[in-house]
Point group: C2
Chain length 200, copies 2
């Protein structure tokens, strides 16, 4: 007998266990909590999931998650149109938004170039980015890709594609994170922070 | 702007973050995974949650989770009726079932006695247990309560209530867990295991 012995409950546990951060044990605990807190948690969660399943899609312009054709950022008149911040994933877009410093628009690539995994420019919404920059007369493209080999390779490729269009290209500064201790930082970051040192 | 900026997605993240084992960060990751794997995960999970929300209830006899009036264990003709294993929670019942050694029926108390939290015998399905033992002519009641102070207090109280009915009362053995190392065990367990030592 697997788990609860009840087919519907077992199926729910099996699906919950496939979420990142949950395994079979925590999925069982989560399902028991859901059943115990039926009105306050189970019913609202079932409803919220059904709502999202019915409405969620990709923003036709930037690739962000949306429930209408364009996402809330692309349709926000308060956001500057002349700046596009290029990120790998929607998770990175949310991280930038939590930072709260960027007030322009985004472009979500959906990953990074990887010859090994067969990820080519066309599978990454890079042609869409080039078309957007040309069409919207973008002044600045900020390449906020991860500081990994694949991320930097992708940034380099995008820079090459955008070069003829005349938009200024920038990338996030590399340096010591706020609250970071030098003793715990890798050597590459310390080197980059030293090279990019600024006058007090 | 909180999280995704989309009301439906934000509500889903907020509800997921209230599950045990998930916080705001892992809830965001889980929701992104759900949206990325729509056919294989989001739609089935929405359906499974709706199914469980619509059908789940407490087994009228033992208090286990059920989708019919009696649970799959109470209605299984292969399970012995003369033995009742008393557990605190449905999670403990599942743990006993994974052990695979017990082939009788269960009785889920729904907690343990606690004067501090105002948990009295009637809020714990103890009267129902006494009625069942009398009615079903139970031969053996196994008190599989946690080895905590409250668990043992509850076991003691139940033993007093059941004493007049003539069923034999047992509790789980205390000792060294399988694979356990003495050096990491607490002193109480080592003492209990020594007192309960057996001839090889």
């Amino acid at each position: 007998m697997a788990d609860a012995g009840d087919a519907a409950v077992d199926r729910l546990i099996g699906l919950m266990a496939r979420l990142p951060g949950l395994g079979p044990r925590s999925a069982r605990r989560a399902v028991l909590t859901l059943i115990r807190r039926r009105e306050s948690l189970l019913d609202p969660l079932a409803q919220a999931l059904a709502d999202v399943a019915a409405t969620v899609r990709e923003c036709a312009r930037c690739g962000n998650i949306a429930t209408t054709e364009l996402c809330t950022i692309c349709t926000d008149p308060a956001r500057a149109t002349g700046e596009i911040c290029v990120v790998e994933t929607v998770a990175d877009l949310w991280a930038m938004e939590r930072g709260g410093a960027f007030r322009g628009r985004y472009h979500v690539l959906g990953g990074v170039l990887s010859a090994l995994d067969g990820i080519t420019p066309t599978s990454l919404r890079i042609p869409e980015l080039v078309a957007r920059v040309a069409e919207e007369g973008t002044r600045e493209v900020i390449l906020a890709l991860n500081a990994t080999v694949d991320g930097q390779t992708t940034a380099h490729y995008i820079a090459g594609e955008l070069a003829p269009l005349g938009a200024s290209l920038t990338s996030l500064a590399k340096g010591v994170p706020i609250g970071g201790e030098l003793d715990y930082l890798d050597d590459g970051t310390i080197g980059a922070a030293l090279l990019a040192r600024r006058a007090l």
